[in-house]
């Protein structure tokens, strides 16, 4: 049903594809190790790694689908998809399934998924579409218009869920893509001034709007010793896991912090800690290098994109991946508050894997179709 152009195949971005496949394999191995039953008597291995493999298969298919058509198509459907995404977020708020104190999941029969995971991609597409209308740097009114038209409503909806992590990531994507688009110098100066003046004020509003567990996370980040059993305990156990890996790690399936349940969320947000415990500094540097390569490749794709939409889209996706990566690793290393952000391609979670693979599909799409003469 798709016409496969031979030249298209020639220009296919194998590097990006192979990096995410490699990280995914590492991910499944690490999830297997993190969720293996401790001891010998109760030998039932949790099925997380199998579920993740199924999701990986689905994700690879989705990736291929998102390569097969020209990404310019995305620009055309951006607005209806964006409105649909907003509706889904609204439905989650009204009818969503609650998990871990937040309403994030929508159930469709036996499946449940997190609309917010997809929304961030839709959000980037919408932003790129809007910014590619004009090549002029944004002035104050332009920026405010974008903020209120595209950013504000989803931000409030996400904040309400509450999915603080995704809300902040959305805000960061907005800011970084806006800067990449180009801002008037006046806007930059004004933003800095307003930012400094309103910071305590805004901070106060944010603080009172936070749930207790979110406040605890921030307090525990400032001083982990305050409550070693609560969230500070979480950060400590993560640091113990990573630190105890030393240079060469304890060896695969030899880690103890995860399977013995010292480290909570070992196969989701804190999967890097389990990996670092077993593979040590050497393994960690290797894994980080894969991410660095992936992100640099994304920037290069943006640089080579044939149009502004493609460039901004590639940048948005790359920034998003970097933000997720940086905040997640920073969190496991105890450098940032625990905000419940997964590590792309590594953390257990089907919706996130699928949406990240789609994002990579779009990236590969942009690179593969970088020469306008094929269009």
């Amino acid at each position: 049903m798709f016409r496969i152009d031979r030249r298209l195949l020639q220009n296919f971005d194998w590097l990006t594809f192979l990096i995410v496949i490699l990280i995914s394999i590492i991910s499944i191995m690490t999830i297997f190790s993190a969720t293996r039953p401790p001891g010998t008597e109760d030998a039932a291995q949790a099925s997380f790694y199998i579920k993740q493999m199924v999701w990986l298969a689905i994700s690879i298919i989705a990736l291929i689908i998102f390569i097969s058509f020209d990404y310019v198509w995305l620009e055309r459907v951006a607005l209806p998809v964006y409105i649909m995404g907003l509706l889904l977020l609204l439905i989650v708020l009204i009818a969503g399934r609650t998990g871990m104190g937040a309403q994030r999941w929508l159930s469709l029969g036996p499946l449940s998924f997190q609309p917010s995971e997809f929304f961030k991609l839709i959000f980037i597409i919408m932003l790129s579409k809007y910014y590619s209308f004009s090549r002029e740097p944004l002035d104050v009114t332009g920026l405010l218009r974008v903020f209120f038209l595209i950013v504000f409503i989803p931000f409030v909806l996400l904040f309400k869920q509450p999915d603080l992590g995704t809300a902040i990531v959305a805000l960061l994507i907005f800011m970084s893509v806006s800067m990449a688009k180009g801002l008037h110098k006046k806007v930059i100066i004004m933003m800095v001034v307003i930012g400094i003046i309103s910071l305590p004020f805004l901070g106060n509003i944010m603080w009172t709007g936070l749930k207790d567990y979110q406040k605890n996370r921030i307090l525990a980040f400032i001083d982990p010793k305050v409550d070693p059993s609560g969230i500070g305990y979480h950060i400590n156990q993560s640091k113990i896991a990573i630190g105890s890996g030393e240079f060469f790690g304890k060896g695969y399936l030899e880690g103890t912090q995860g399977p013995f349940r010292f480290l909570p969320e070992k196969h989701t947000d804190f999967v890097f800690a389990v990996f670092a415990e077993e593979w040590g500094f050497a393994g960690s540097v290797f894994l980080l290098s894969l991410y660095l390569l992936l992100i640099m490749r994304g920037l290069d794709t943006a640089n080579k994109a044939k149009d502004d939409f493609g460039r901004l889209l590639a940048l948005g996706i790359t920034f998003m991946l970097f933000i997720y990566f940086f905040v997640n690793i920073g969190m496991t290393l105890g450098m940032m508050p625990v905000v419940g952000i997964p590590l792309p391609f590594m953390s257990y979670g089907g919706t996130a894997l699928l949406s990240n693979y789609i994002a990579i599909g779009v990236l590969i799409n942009i690179r593969t179709r970088r020469f306008s003469l094929f269009y």
Partner: protein, 593 residues
Amino acid sequence: MLTEKPEAQKITLASYLILLGFLVLLLRLWQLQLLQGDEFRKTSESNRLRVIKVTAPRGIIFDRNNIALVKNTPYFCASVIPEEFNEGDIPSLASVLHMPEDELRMKLTKKARSPFTPVRLKEGLSYNEVSYIEARRSDFPGLFVEIEVSREYLHGGIGAHVIGYLGKLTPGQAKDPEFKDVPPNAFIGQWGVEKLFDKSLRGTAGQRIIEVDAIGREIRLLKETPPVKGSDLSLSIDIALQKAAEDAFEGKAGALVALKADTGEILGMVSAPSFDPNSFAKGISTDDWNAIINDKKVPMLNRAIQSQYPPGSTFKIITAIAALEEDAVDTATKVDCKGGTNYGKWHFGCWKRTGHNIVSVHSALVESCDVYFYEAGKRVGFDKIHDYAVMFGLGEETGIPIGRERKGLIPNSKWKRETKKSAWFPGETFINSIGQGYVTTTPVQMAVMMKAVVNGGKVYRPSIFRASEPLLVRKAAVRPETVETIKEALKGVVNEPGGTGHAARSNTILIGGKTGTAQVVGIRKDSKYLPEQFRDHAWFVAFAPVDNPDIALAIVVEHGGHGGTAAAPIAKKAIEAYMLSSEQKKELMHVQD
């Protein structure tokens, strides 16, 4: 790619920022894994590894006839894992454990090491409480029963001062390196033989090194060193004798020490009133503890070794030996007792106001004539009597291994000069020769003396183990004729008409002994008419059988009045119990084979 477009410049800037971000993460990884890696590795090990001490079964204590005196018994405690416990369950749990809610709440809110570390809620649960908790565990998540090992003292308070008791390791002991192998909640010997030989009774604690998960659940056993059972102890104590004696002490305060005549073995050691060691081994309550320490009769005092009494007329044995050995008197020497004697301006009365008429050493001992011993003491001099007393083990520690013993006092002129800064008055010789005045002794000293007199002068260190190597302290130089004279006289005390110790006379065994009445106040009035606390202490020292002595003992009954009436019957009961066959003893102690 001709010149860089502004877009490309921005992307280059972004890539520098991203590289900077990676560098920050790498530095942090380097810090955690390489700089602090060792430390974190250790923390992760201690996270995962637990060393659990396994208390060894404690050695059993037997009496000399292999009758068990103690047995090991489980001691149940209710503990809870705070993380799993539901605070709403506090009121219902309080009623299950019969504890005030506030106390429970306080224990649960006290800062624990981690929310997974169990908190002890109540110790010493009854069987009913244990079965109730086990049946309703699902109602109280996190609640479980821990088991420690304690003791049951099979014969209650009998022999409590010798056997002692177990108690919880005190905070002070927990810091002592001697107890470093003892688990923190374990029981250890805190008194008596249990304390003295705690180390060998305790055995060697085993150790289990296990891997645990975050909740402390055991995942895998890595290494196990099984505990080594503590050594059993066979005491020299005869529990049947002990029981007979303690029963005879019913309601009285005093002490008894019985020794094997030809070794140092302690056959019985009574201090009345006694206490029930079981209440300590169950984790004594504050009320019970206060009742014991505030008791006017001081049950925790071991009177057998810690109380010093004037020996009264029992001391006449020493005076007689000194006089005979120093040839100040012989068996033919006669003294006319007219109910008293005068020395200078002082009058020294005999307890029998009507007098004993003509007495020899034999009849003076049998009838306990004071006047004869005033005369004997005057002839030999008290410094000589002092030397003989010390030779037979008085005035010095006997070396008994249990408790802190007192030395008593045997005075002489040197002692008087040094402590009282004055010369020895001749009149003091009179009064000390009959065991009054400065002379004080402990019951165990008197038993050692009695034993040494009848075995020909051999003073042994008292020992608590059966068949232990006798430890000879010294052999008193005393002529066999002197020993025979004394033994004959002591036989007469019990068995001749007019003997003061006839209450000890037995139909089954020939007993010899000597009564003593130690004055508490200087009133020569029949004790019966005095309030109890002013009544005289009653003494009796004895041995049996007369021909070939096997047992020697000393008894004191505080404020008991005359030795012949208060103390002598106890000696008879104790000796008769000792002479029972081992089957009869087992029957007496309700032991089933």
